[in-house]
């Protein structure tokens, strides 16, 4: 069996822009800002970078196709640059390409950068997926939006575990309220306002049963990571962060077209996490993980992810939510930076933004939201819809 990349690559520098509705900034501005912060953090120069990966999702209305927007914006000197895209897991895919290139021994120092400029699309929410699905699915697939696709998982979850809609919505509201509390502590977050469970419950419905505050921010932003081999990393800084596991799982089609899936969980999360725990040598995630950054595109996604990550038992996430297990002061803080909910969700950047938070927490540089003595952090970056998804799990440690 392949041995994986545990401790074979390290992150030595990261950058992340302010996320938000950045009407005055272009995607190029955001790429430059994230890149400069990462370079400075790593203490290297541009010429040290030997290859780069760009993650961007809605490329036609964003920076354009191919890797050239990154290469030309940063004036990278004729090095290999590749663009990756895997729906909302795009940022993690760029990170994965960079890590594997270093682990293979092909390069010493590489860059992964994700960017998205959603607020130039003219949409509240994400742009239409129509053209993203391809010609044939477009003829038969409903006019699904992201909130609608995930709302169907809430409908299913409530039904399966016998939560009446109000009880279910109340549980989801607690998830969002927690992220708003954390986001308020984060100067780079898009949404920095605390909201009460009552406000969340009363918000307009977007896609039943999900309301406005069950949905994450739709933002502009960029994030970047500089990755190298451990022996170089140790020379560059005293506190590099090591990749303990990196796994991706893509749907096989059976969730959507075969009747085995229960609709109340995300199979790719479960599969990718199980493999990542194996790669990282984690036996009991509930006891061993210090913090998690999950893909809370919607509150229900965060709820089922607690279970898919095997931290909360199946159908019992509510007990942990009610007990404050995932709060900033809880046993495993989740979304210490506000998550997609409040930090925001510039698609291509999100996977790297999650890694940025875990990186800063592991280095003890997370400011007022710093978690005490974290050892292992996990990021969960989910693309697509619950029934047809791509999930990336990254486990980082010092």
């Amino acid at each position: 069996m392949a041995e994986g990349i545990k401790d074979k690559v390290a992150i030595v520098g990261m950058g992340c822009t302010q996320f938000g509705e950045l009407w005055e900034k272009s995607a190029e501005d955001l790429m430059v800002e994230a890149f400069l912060e990462a370079l400075e953090d790593a203490g290297i120069e541009k010429k040290d970078i030997q290859a780069a990966w760009l993650g961007t999702c809605f490329e036609e209305i964003n920076v354009g196709k191919s890797a050239l927007p990154l290469a030309m914006t940063l004036k990278l000197p004729f090095i290999p640059v590749t663009r990756t895209e895997n729906f909302c897991a795009t940022g993690s895919e760029a990170f994965r390409g960079a890590c594997y290139a270093v682990a293979s021994g092909a390069y010493d120092i590489v860059l992964a950068l994700g960017v998205e400029k959603l607020k130039d699309t003219g949409y509240g929410g994400l742009p239409e997926f129509g053209s993203a699905l391809g010609g044939k699915p477009r003829l038969i697939f409903p006019n699904v939006t992201a909130p609608g696709a995930f709302a169907m998982m809430a409908t299913r979850y409530f039904d399966k575990y016998g939560l009446d809609p109000q009880e279910g919505k109340l549980t989801l509201a607690k998830i969002s309220a927690k992220s708003h509390r954390n986001g308020a502590l984060n100067p780079k977050a898009h949404l920095r306002r605390e909201v009460t469970v009552e406000q969340i419950m009363k918000a307009p419905i977007i896609a039943w049963p999900l309301g406005l505050f069950d949905c994450c921010g739709v933002s502009d932003g960029a994030a970047a990571a500089i990755i190298t081999r451990p022996e170089i990393a140790k020379k560059l800084r005293p506190d590099p962060v090591y990749v303990k596991a990196l796994q991706i799982a893509a749907s096989s089609g059976e969730e959507l077209m075969y009747t085995g899936w229960d609709g109340a969980h995300v199979e790719t999360t479960y599969r990718a996490a199980a493999r990542a725990y194996q790669e990282a040598g984690i036996k009991n995630p509930r006891e061993e993980l210090s913090l998690i950054e999950v893909h809370d595109c919607f509150s229900i996604t965060e709820m089922v992810t607690y279970e898919d990550l095997q931290i909360s038992p199946r159908g019992r996430a509510k007990e942990d939510i009610d007990a404050g297990f995932y709060e900033l002061g809880g046993q495993i803080p989740c979304q210490s930076d506000g998550g997609l909910k409040c930090f925001g969700h510039p698609i291509g950047a999100s996977g790297l933004r999650m890694i940025y938070e875990v990186y800063k927490q592991l280095q003890g540089k997370a400011g007022p939201r710093q978690i005490k003595n974290p050892r292992l952090g996990l990021t969960h970056n989910l693309g697509g819809f619950p029934g047809m998804s791509v999930c990336s799990i990254v486990i980082l440690g010092n």
Partner: protein, 483 residues
């Protein structure tokens, strides 16, 4: 013996009370005081989808392989070029080596198509012919026509075996009587003076056609158990019957209180309603009207007693939902522009080569079933989706359109573009296996439950006005009664 082997009907779920029309448009036209409601095609329906639905109702339980021709009758064909009947034949998953034709331009086209089907069967040109008629005629805002016109469809299967009603005779009249007209570019009906239409049209031609038929076959009006004739004017409808010497129970109801004048489908819909009540030995006379008349004479056989239970006119009349608002009607009928937002404006081009290649999936809702493990799957796959199987190229064609399903999950989405928000969609698990995501239609959010039964209905999925494309696919409709 040639005649009707089966029949079906379709009346859309939405009804618009004529009182609602009067409340909104009475300031302009207070003169029309027609009681009752009219049936209104939903925003996702047109004459193609309604004819398909009637065809599904008609073919319930019948093998489709015996059908050698499909005739579609309408005056509101979505396409001028691209055969409308061809879309219906594909949606009904009929054989591809059949004859298809559109009968159009007159509201008597429904009976004309039926007579042509009869003659094809009689001449041994076809074993069975399916006739589907549908109309969604539009009167301008404030017109009398918008009170009279209703949307509906009917379908008849003609053949020589297991005939439930033998077609025994016919008599036709053709007049260039221009009571209603629409030129190439017209969306709305234009008409001449109503008194002339009533007094020189309906009340003249219908009795003349009946007299012609009676004389041709040496019959007496009293030989008939039921007489069907289309006349949307209630007073004249009764007067014609009285003049013919018919007792009221022998006059087939003109459906104006619940449906309205359904154009090319009108006579066939009334005939279907008459057959639902018919007994063996009954003689039925059916007369259509429109630039003349077709009169048809049937004799019901013992086979009608063996007939399965189609939903028919009766079943469709029982299921209805008050549209409530005239403005919603006007939007459904594309008479008022609606702010559909950037999501509604964005319509990607329809790849017509893809559509043709995938026609079995898209129009016919056919997937495949794995011959190794028996798993039905949609859309067609080459590699079996059952994780325990994975067989390659072991598939046989499998039709989902006539399978019921259960609603696995759903949502009501206020962000998605829809002319009837919230957009309701969900995942359907089919009886016998197979799962996919579908739009739901003809339902309200509050009535939905996980696990409730649904059936599939052929609908217009999108309209690409800029490129002149109507996109069709299937949606799930909650089964209001378990049948």
């Amino acid at each position: 013996m040639a005649g009707i082997v089966s029949f079906g009907a379709y009346i859309p779920w939405y009804r618009l009370s004529r009182q609602t029309i009067l409340w909104t448009m009475g300031w302009f036209n207070p003169a029309v005081l027609l009681p009752g409601k009219k049936a209104v095609a939903g925003y996702d329906e047109d004459s193609i989808t309604m004819a398909t639905e009637a065809g599904v109702d008609c073919l319930n339980g019948f093998p489709r392989e015996k059908i050698d021709a499909l005739y579609f009758a309408t005056t509101t064909a979505p396409y001028k070029e691209r055969q409308n009947a061809g879309i219906i034949a594909a949606a009904l998953d009929l054989r591809e080596d059949i004859r298809t034709a559109d009968f159009t331009d007159s509201v008597k086209a429904g009976t004309t198509a039926l007579l042509s089907a009869y003659e094809a069967v009689l001449a041994k040109g076809a074993a069975q012919v399916l006739v589907a008629a549908a109309d969604t005629r539009l009167g301008k805002m404030g017109s009398a026509q918008e009170h009279y016109f209703g949307d509906a469809a009917a379908a008849f299967l003609l053949g020589e075996e297991n005939v439930i009603a033998e077609l025994k005779g016919f008599y036709s009249l053709a007049y260039d009587f221009v009571d209603h007209r629409r030129a190439q570019k017209d969306v709305f009906d234009r008409s001449w003076e109503e008194r002339w239409m009533r007094d020189a049209g309906y009340t003249k031609f219908i009795p003349q056609a009946i007299a012609g038929l009676l004389k041709k076959y040496g019959l007496n009006i009293s030989d008939f158990a039921k007489v069907v004739y289309t006349c949307p004017y209630n007073r004249e409808h009764a007067a014609i019957g009285k003049k013919l010497g018919l007792s009221p129970e022998k006059i087939q109801d003109n459906l104006m209180s619940e449906v309205g004048d359904a154009g090319a489908a009108y006579a066939l819909l009334m005939l279907a309603a008459a057959l639902e009540e018919a007994r063996p030995g009954d003689k039925i006379l059916a007369v259509s009207y429109g630039n003349g008349c077709d009169a048809l004479y049937f004799e019901v056989t013992e086979e009608i007693l063996k007939r399965w239970d189609c939903k028919g006119v009766r079943g469709h009349l029982a299921e209805k939902n008050d549209l409530g608002s005239y403005e919603k009607y006007a939007v459904f009928k594309n008479m008022l522009p609606l702010e559909v937002g950037i999501r509604g404006e964005e319509i990607a081009p329809t790849q017509l080569s893809t559509l043709f290649r995938e026609r079995k999936s898209v129009l016919g809702l056919c997937g495949v079933r794995c011959q190794k493990c028996g798993t039905p799957q949609f859309p067609a796959q080459r590699i079996c989706v059952n994780p325990g199987c994975g067989a390659v190229d072991k598939m046989e064609e499998y039709r989902f359109s006539d399978k019921k399903g259960r609603l696995f999950t759903y949502t009501a989405d206020r962000l998605a573009a829809s002319l009837n928000p919230p957009a309701i969609y969900g995942i359907v698990d089919f009886e016998g296996g197979g799962r996919y995501m579908f739009d739901l239609t003809d339902c309200e959010q509050d009535a939905l439950k996980v696990g409730m039964p649904v059936r599939m209905s052929f609908r217009r999925k999108y309209i690409d006005e800029a490129r002149g494309v109507y996109g069709y696919f299937w949606k799930a409709v909650p089964l209001r009664e378990e049948r």
